[in-house]
């Protein structure tokens, strides 16, 4: 699980500043914006240029370049890697479609009131604690190797299926907590208003509380899905040939590590836009909140 604990943390910066200027570059507006942008650009060139120079001039750089950044190997492996990445996308999409409803069920179970629902709450708490405590790679290995080994008739042995199940169990635990935070952030007066009209508790949840909660947690949900997208690579340990496994295969064939860099590049190309989109959503939500708070 990487990076998913920083859910919904808004980007730093002056929250009262308008949205016209770029926060990344830190500029204002008009002429001063041009000046600050130039300074930002210049500073970036100096810092990253210096860093690059240090690396390129390192004593063993030629060997490293050959082992990790071989253009020919990259060009040869990229088509295979891209093809293998389709498996990652399948893992991600199928898992995500299952996680969204399952995690909501877990979150609702945990919030059911009254002594009669104690077992439901207990189950939800134990489940969320357990699957957030065990490292993802262990859950994948235990399910992927262990379940088929039981030999129960009808239980699938396809590692892809177990990979999906493991990812769903792992991420539903996280996502259920995101949902729960969202549900609890809806003011109790909303439920009171719904109940006062005669809606049952479940109806109030379904029509009034959850729709508002889900809207609020979309940015942290997307954040979790960025993590999920990357963690699809963990499924390689049980023998699913996805992009990381394919890179291993290519590495073994060429004695060159460049395919790993190729795999990393593919993740970057897919994940960074999603991360930027999430940041944009967070910023937009905050602007809205500021707008309605005045």
């Amino acid at each position: 699980m990487s990076g998913d604990l920083a859910q919904g943390v808004p980007p730093l910066g002056d929250p009262l500043r308008g949205d016209r200027s770029s926060r990344l570059l830190g500029g204002g507006s008009g002429r001063s914006a041009l000046r600050t942008n130039l300074i930002a650009l210049g500073s970036a060139v100096v810092v990253f240029g210096a860093l690059g120079l240090v690396i390129v001039n390192a004593p063993n750089w030629p060997a490293v370049q050959q082992a990790f950044f071989d253009g020919q190997v990259l060009a040869d492996s990229l088509p295979e890697l891209a093809q293998a990445f389709v498996v990652n996308i399948q893992l991600f999409l199928i898992a995500e479609l299952l996680i969204l409803p399952l995690a909501l069920v877990v979150a609702v179970l945990r919030l059911l009131p009254g002594p009669a629902f104690f077992p439901a709450r207990l189950f939800a708490v134990v489940y969320a604690d357990l699957f957030r405590a065990v490292p993802g790679i262990l859950v994948i290995a235990l399910l992927g190797f262990g379940m088929p080994a039981l030999g129960i008739p009808g239980i699938p042995s396809d590692p892809f299926i177990w990979g999906v199940i493991a990812l769903v169990l792992l991420y539903s635990a996280y996502v259920s907590e995101v949902y729960r935070a969202g549900i609890q952030s809806v003011h109790p007066s909303q439920e009171a208003a719904a109940r006062s009209l005669g809606l049952s508790r479940l109806q109030a949840l379904r029509y009034v509380v959850i729709p508002q909660a889900v809207r609020r947690v979309i940015p942290p949900l997307l954040n979790d899905f960025i993590g999920l997208q990357k963690d699809t690579a963990l499924v390689s340990v049980i023998g699913v040939v996805e992009v990381f496994r394919q890179a291993q295969i290519d590495e073994a064939a060429t004695f060159n590590f460049t395919p790993y860099v190729g795999a990393a590049l593919i993740f970057v190309v897919i994940t960074v836009p999603l991360a930027r989109f999430t940041d944009w959503l967070v910023a937009r939500d905050r602007r809205r909140q500021l707008a309605t708070a005045t």
Binding site: S189, Q190, A192, A193, R195, L197, G198, L199, S200, V208
Partner: protein, 250 residues
């Protein structure tokens, strides 16, 4: 008088932790009667209304609506609440729904009225209170007065036998108070039974058949508005009204 009162509250006690907010409330409201609850903040007005709607569990006492004890064990509270409308100080509209959906949600989901029929009735109500052109808006596009009128319409859409109004003008800018109070006047004229917690003494004097002064979790004094505002018997009522007059609110 063979007909049971619209609402009867007997010996109602309610505490939050160690703070006893209601210390034995007895109150009867006849059909078509409008009762105003006045008293300082913290005197228990809102808690009383929330207890009548069973939004807060009672510690002791009974609430009887149209002859049915709604606090009895085994009563389905959802069915009770659909007969009682409550409007809150903070409107509590559903922000993710358009005005029309705010109004039709309960009729559709609770009474199982079909959508076209529910919408037709909702539009009639919105029309009656001058809100027809806001039906497709989201609540945050409306003024406070408009939002509160929508909240009233939303409660009325369930055709309640009893309306509870909990300081419904306290969160409004002064110039928006009148439009909401006029809605209540119209409801009173139409014979709606209402229990109204309010700080608007002039309004209470106008509209109430009876005014109850709450102090320290009890109804200290009650009577027709002329008597309660004109010649209060209790010293504490006099003090309270004196402060209101000094604040220029009566």
């Amino acid at each position: 008088m063979s007909q049971p009162p619209a609402l009867r509250v007997e010996g109602l006690h309610k505490s939050f932790g160690r703070l006893e907010v209601l210390r034995g409330i007895d109150l009867a409201v006849a059909d078509h009667e409008v009762v105003c609850l006045i008293g300082a903040s913290g005197s228990g007005k809102s808690t009383l209304l929330r207890c009548i709607d069973l939004l807060e569990p009672l510690d002791a006492g009974r609430v009887v609506v149209e002859g049915t004890e709604i606090t009895a064990i085994g009563v389905r509270v959802d069915e009770v609440r659909r007969r009682i409308g409550i409007v809150f100080q903070a409107f509590n509209l559903f922000p993710h729904m358009r005005v029309l959906d705010n109004v039709t949600l309960a009729p559709r989901k609770v009474l199982r009225v079909r959508a076209p029929e529910a919408e037709r009735r909702a539009m009639e109500l919105l029309e009656r209170f001058g809100l027809a052109d806001k039906a497709r808006e989201f609540p945050d596009r409306l003024s406070g007065g408009q939002q509160q009128r929508v909240a009233i319409v939303r409660a009325l859409a369930m055709q309640p036998q009893l309306m509870l109004l909990d300081e419904i003008t306290s969160a409004l800018d002064p110039e928006l108070v009148a439009e909401v109070l006029n809605v209540i006047r119209e409801l009173a004229a139409a014979g709606m039974t209402m229990v109204i917690a309010t700080h608007e003494m002039g309004f209470a004097r106008d509209i109430a058949n009876r005014v109850c002064f709450l102090d320290g979790g009890r109804i200290l004094e009650e009577g027709p508005p002329e008597q309660l505002f004109g010649a209060p018997r209790e010293e504490r009522t006099r003090q309270f009204l004196q402060r209101i007059v000094e604040a220029g609110r009566l």
